[in-house]
Point group: C2
Amino acid sequence: MQEITTVALDAMGGDNAPQEIVLGAVKATNERRDLKVLLVGDEAAIKNSLSSHSYKENQIEIVPASEVIETSEAPVNAIRKKKDSSIVVGMKLVKEKKADAFVSAGSSGAILVGGQVIIGRIKGVERAPMAPLIPTDKGISLLVDSGANVDARASHLVQFAKMGSIYIEHVIGKKNPKVALVNVGAEEEKGNALVKETFPLLKAEKDINFVGSVEARDIPYGEVDVVVAEGFAGNIIIKMYEGVGGVLFKKIKDSLLSNLRSKIGALLIKPALKGMMKSFDATEYGGAPLLGLNALVVKTHGNAKSKEIRNTLIQCITFKEQKISDKIRESIVKED
Amino acid sequence: MQEITTVALDAMGGDNAPQEIVLGAVKATNERRDLKVLLVGDEAAIKNSLSSHSYKENQIEIVPASEVIETSEAPVNAIRKKKDSSIVVGMKLVKEKKADAFVSAGSSGAILVGGQVIIGRIKGVERAPMAPLIPTDKGISLLVDSGANVDARASHLVQFAKMGSIYIEHVIGKKNPKVALVNVGAEEEKGNALVKETFPLLKAEKDINFVGSVEARDIPYGEVDVVVAEGFAGNIIIKMYEGVGGVLFKKIKDSLLSNLRSKIGALLIKPALKGMMKSFDATEYGGAPLLGLNALVVKTHGNAKSKEIRNTLIQCITFKEQKISDKIRESIVKED
C-alpha cells in the first residue's frame, strides 16, 4: 500500500485565507492520492470554502482552531498566548505525529518561533534557516537563510550549507549541487569577518560541493545551486528580488502604455512577456521550508494563491518520501 | 572671475581606457568653462585619443604616468609599489592641491586604499564609505556604503548617514532628504545587533531627517533618499540591482525574439522600452564618491563610457562649489 503524507495546513494564514488556501488543498488532493490535508482553522469558514469545490472527502479533514495569529503580533507572545490559533494547533498535530508537515501563509515570526518551540530542532542543529527557492536565468536556486537567523555564526552557516545541499539534491532533484557563500568579491581573501571564518570551514566539508564565493550580482544568473548567507544578508537578497523585479515590471508596464504605438506593440508581445514573467515569479516554486526541524515546516508567501499552496503541498510529499529530516540528522550527527 | 574646478582623471582605468575616458573629458570641458581636467596616464596613448577630438587646449592637460594598477592586483601592495601608476600620480595631484578631485574607472580596491592613504580622511571621520546613486521608481537615491567598509560599527553608520545626507542635499539638490537604515523589517525591534545599536543613535541625530528602517524590497521604489547600510549589506544591494536587472532585461529580450508576433511587437515598443531602461541605468548618474576624504574621490563603473565620465566630472564641479568637504567637516566636528 502506498504511503500517505499528511500535511497540517493553516487555513487562516495569509492575505487570501481561507478561500485560496482551501482551493490549494483541493487541487493537490485531487491530483495526488498519496496526500491527506488537515485544514486547520475556523470550521464554518473552511466548510463554506470547501462547499464550492468537488474534492475527495477521505483526503481532506477539518481540524478546528478558533484563533488566528496576526502578522502584526509579537511572535513569541502570540505562540505562548494563542493556544487555539491555527498555527499552534497545526504545529501540535505535527508534534503529536498526526501530521508529517505544517504549511502556513501566516506570520513568518510566529512560524519561526512555533517551529523551534513546538516542533523543535533536530538534535545537533544549532539554528533552523528559512530556505526559499529563488528564480534564476537557468531555473532555480535555493537561498539559505532568507532571514530566520540574523547574527548567525560560522558554524551555523556550515550547517545551512549542508541542509540546503540535501534539500535541493533530494527534493528538487539537482545532483551534486554547487554550494557557494555570498561574498563581496570572488577572491578568497575578500569578505567580512564572518565570511573569512566560514570560508575555510566550508572548504573543508567533504559532504558538499563547495565552489567558493558568489557575488550577489551572479545569484540571479543561477551560477550556483545553493546560496549560503547569514540571515540579514539573505533577507536583503530575497527582498531585492522582489523590489527590483517589481519596479522593473511596473516601469515596463507604464512605458508600454505611454503611447499608441507601444500599446499596439504591447498587445503583440503580451503572451511572450507573460511566459517570461511567470518563469521569474518566485510563487511558482512553492513556499520556503524551515530546515533542520524535527518535521517539515513550510512558510508560503503571505499573498499565496491556490497554485503556490498546491505546489507546496506536493513538495511536502517529496520531502517525506526522500526522508529529508533523516538525511539532515545523519549529516549533522556525522559532523559532531 | 569664475572659479575653476580641476579634476585629476585616471585615463588608464576601466575597460574602455583611454578612449572613452578621454572622450568624457572632452565632452565635459567643451560644455563647462569652469572645469579643467588633468588626464593622468600614458602620454602617447592619451595624445592619440585626444587627436581625434576637438577640445579646448587650455582646459585639458596631460600628466604622464607610466604604470597601471590592474584590478587583479592586491590593492595595498599596488598602491605602495606602483608609485608611477595613474591612480597614485592622480591622487598625489589632489594631495598637493594641484587638483580638487580625483576620478577613476580603475581598481576599486586601489582607489579605496589610495584615497585613505594618499588623500586621507577628514579629521574625525572614522571610515570613508562608497556612496553610489541608485535608480529608483521615483528617480534616484544614495546608498552609503556600497562596500568600502565591511564589518562597520554603529558609529560609522551614523557618520555615513550624515555624510550621505549632506551629499544628496547639496550635490543632488534634494532638500531635507529622508534617511533610513536598511533592516529586515519595518518595526523598530527588528534587526541584527548592529542595526539595534545604530537605530537609537540615528534617531537621536538632529542634523538628519531619519525616518527609521527601510526593507530592501522598498529601496527600488525610492521611498527614502539616503539608504544607510554596513558595507557587506550595501554591496549586496548594489549587486542585486545589477543582477536582477541584468537577468530580467536578458529574459525580456529573449522572450521578444521568441516568435514573429512578438518580434513585430518588439519593434513597436522599442523606443518606449529604451527610455524606461535608460531611466533605470545606474551609469546615467555618474560614479560613486568616496565620502569623508580630504578631497573628492569618485569611482566610476569599470565599464564606464564617455557619458558617465562626463557626468561625473560635472558632479565634481558641484561638489567643489557646494564645499561638501567643509560641510562634512563641520558636521563631524560638531559631533565630537
